[in-house]
Each structure stands twice: as C-alpha cells, then as structure tokens.
C-alpha cells in the first residue's frame, strides 16, 4: 500500500538506507529487454493549470510568516517615479522616532542615491539594485531583509521601483500596499493604472503643499481613487510641510498595534 496516504496504490518499494526492499532477480530468466517500437512518439499534452506567479506567491507567504513572527508591520510603497516615495518614507521614519523604529529596503534600477538619502537621516537601509528588472520580487526582499537587524525594527518599509505597472503583480509578503499619487501627476492616474491602484490597501496623495500651483483637482482625484481603489484608506499629506502627516502616523501606530 502507498505509504504516503494509504490509498492502496503502489507496491512495497520503500527504500531503507538507499536499498530497495525488492529482491534482485535470483531466478534466471531469459527474456530480452528490447521491444519493438511500432509507435512514432506522438506529442504528449500535459495539463498543468498552475499560476505563473506561484513561486513568487509562495516566497511572499514565507516572507509574510517570517515578518509576522518578527512582529513587523511591513509596507510595500509603490508609485510612479518622482511621486515622493523617498521623502515620504524619510519623514515617516523621522516622525515615528520614539514610537516605532523604521527600517527600509529600497529598490531601484541603478544607483543607491535613495538609500544614501535615507542613510544620512540615520535610518537602517538596504539597497536592492535590480539592474534591468522593473519590480521587486519576494526573493529579492527576503535576501535584503536578511541584511537588516530586524530585531531593532518595528516597521519595515519596502520602497519599490518607481513603476505603476509591473510591481502590481508581485506580492512581497507585505501587510499593506501603499500607493502614492502626487498632486503634480494627472488626477486620472488611478484610471490609467487600475491593477496597481486596485491592489493597494492605502492610497496617499502627496505634495499637497503645491497642489494649487500644480492645478490639482482634488475632487476629481479622490473620485478616481474611490472608483478604482474603493476599499483603500486614503490620506492626503505633504511630506515637506508635515501637513496631514499626523493622521498617517496614527494609522501606522494603530496598524502595528493590531498586527
């Protein structure tokens, strides 16, 4: 019987110490092992029906379990290039000081400028330079996280590559996906990149201090966000002036407490 599940199939072919329990042919018999090939090696079709993301998803779940055991709140911060991810993360870390300790993993195609900016602010940071790859995946995050002293971190922020398309498909094992929309971008960004905006649990409108100069239509942007990210928690803030930051920080403290 099958030893895996007791299904009644299979023989008694359990190997102990590398040896089959089957006996060798002690009785001499004389048949040859060649047989006639009358067939023409017709192609075999194998149904797989498996997700192409399964390897990443499995690694992401492993990350999630590891992060949970470390009692971390993990954020995956995504946006277009130039929406203010690095400044937003730096200010979040600075203003959480004394309450929660922030560590950062930064992904960029090239340079470690963003990491340097965070490091100068005294934040523990690991840079992932992806080369030609347009997104972070769960494996990169797991390797980068190993370089941080996670016992001294409460909130792990992953700054993804500036790109609203590709990172949408890659779960990193985060608790919250945070998408940024700056007031200098079009109000219709959520409609143009629905998979990303839909996948986020938090949407943050950044650079509110220059909204008027940028001709930002707040109502339209909020309407578009609510249309695509209808389940998302929305914050409006300026990392530069600090306006609106408090609500975001309170939210993080609460999320960490609940996790």
């Amino acid at each position: 019987m099958c030893k895996e599940c007791g299904c009644g199939l299979g023989g008694d072919d359990v190997k102990i110490g590398g040896h089959s329990r089957h006996h060798g042919h002690s009785h001499g018999h004389s048949h040859g092992h060649e047989h006639h090939h009358g067939h023409s090696h017709a192609p075999i079709k194998l149904d797989l029906n498996r997700s192409l993301m399964e390897k990443n998803d499995r690694l992401a779940e492993r990350n999630r379990g590891f992060f949970k055991a470390k009692k971390l709140l993990v954020l995956n911060v995504v946006s277009s290039p130039g929406s203010g991810k690095t400044t937003f993360i730096r200010e979040t870390a600075a203003q959480l000081a004394g309450k929660l300790r922030v560590g950062v993993i930064v992904g960029d195609l090239a340079t470690d400028n963003d990491a340097a900016r965070l490091r100068e602010a005294g934040i523990p940071v690991v840079q992932i330079t992806t080369g030609a790859v347009c997104h972070l995946d769960a494996d990169m995050v797991s390797k980068a996280a190993a370089q941080l002293d996670l016992d001294k971190v409460d909130v792990l922020v992953i700054e993804n590559v500036g790109n609203l398309v590709c990172p949408a498909d890659y779960d990193l094992g985060e608790d919250l996906r945070v998408v940024l929309l700056s007031t200098t971008e079009g109000e219709d960004k959520p409609l143009k990149y629905p998979p990303m905006f839909h996948s986020a649990q938090v949407a943050v409108i950044t650079k509110t201090d220059i909204a008027a100069a940028a001709g930002f239509d707040r109502e339209q942007a909020l309407g578009n966000l609510r249309r695509v990210s209808h389940h998302a928690e929305i914050f409006e803030l300026s990392s530069k002036t600090g306006q609106g930051m408090q609500a975001w920080l309170d939210f993080l403290v609460k999320q960490r407490g609940e996790g």
Partner: protein, 113 residues
C-alpha cells in the same frame, strides 16, 4: 517589462514538468492571461523567443488564451463583463467587489515529445 520575468518562469515550469515526464523537447505551451492581469500578451510573445532560447523549449509554439474579465453581481445572481476594476452591474447598477475572472496568469498546458 515584467513579461520577461513571467515568461522566464513559464519556461522554468514547462522545462521542469517536461523533464519530470521524461520528455526531451517541448513543442507547445498554452498560457491563460486575464484582461486585468497586468501582463501584455504581445510583450509575452516577444519575451518568449528570448527566454526559451537555449532551452528544450526553443522553437515551441506559444498559444495565449485571453480571459475576459467578469464580475459577479450578488443581487442579480449573475455574471457581467467588466472592463476595469470598477465593477458596476449593468442591470442593477450595484457595485460588486467580486471579480470572478480576469486576473489569470496561468500555464494551462505543455506539449512535449
């Protein structure tokens, strides 16, 4: 751009299953790609030639089955076609949060000999 990573994974999975089945060559691959998956079939075809080169899948036929997005309306107890993630039922105009199809990024089958 991430179509290259996705197709590299498709090659990895196809080669793994072909080897497990004792096949020496992959002759065809069928994928299922949802309209809201975020991956672009043309970019996947383009990436396929590059990532399958120098593998047992080189020259294999690639078929991509598009999957239109469908939402589920609990009120009407019926599916409806949806173009984006704003899933308003065309009958009762309630907004549904349940996407039944359209996010697929699957390897459906592999042909080998």
């Amino acid at each position: 751009m991430h179509e290259v990573s996705i197709m590299a994974e498709a090659v990895r999975m196809a080669v793994e299953s072909a080897q497990a089945a004792g096949a020496g060559r992959i002759t065809g691959l069928r994928l299922r790609v949802g309209a809201l998956s975020g991956a672009v079939p043309d970019a996947m075809r383009f990436a396929w030639d590059v990532v399958s080169r120098d593998t047992i899948a080189a020259g294999a036929r690639l078929e991509i089955e598009p999957v239109p997005a469908a939402g589920w309306c609990a009120t009407c107890r019926a599916e409806f076609a949806c173009a984006d993630f704003f899933n308003e039922c065309p009958r009762c105009h309630n907004v549904s949060g349940e996407l039944r199809r359209g996010r697929e990024l699957d390897i459906a089958s592999v042909e080998m000999n």
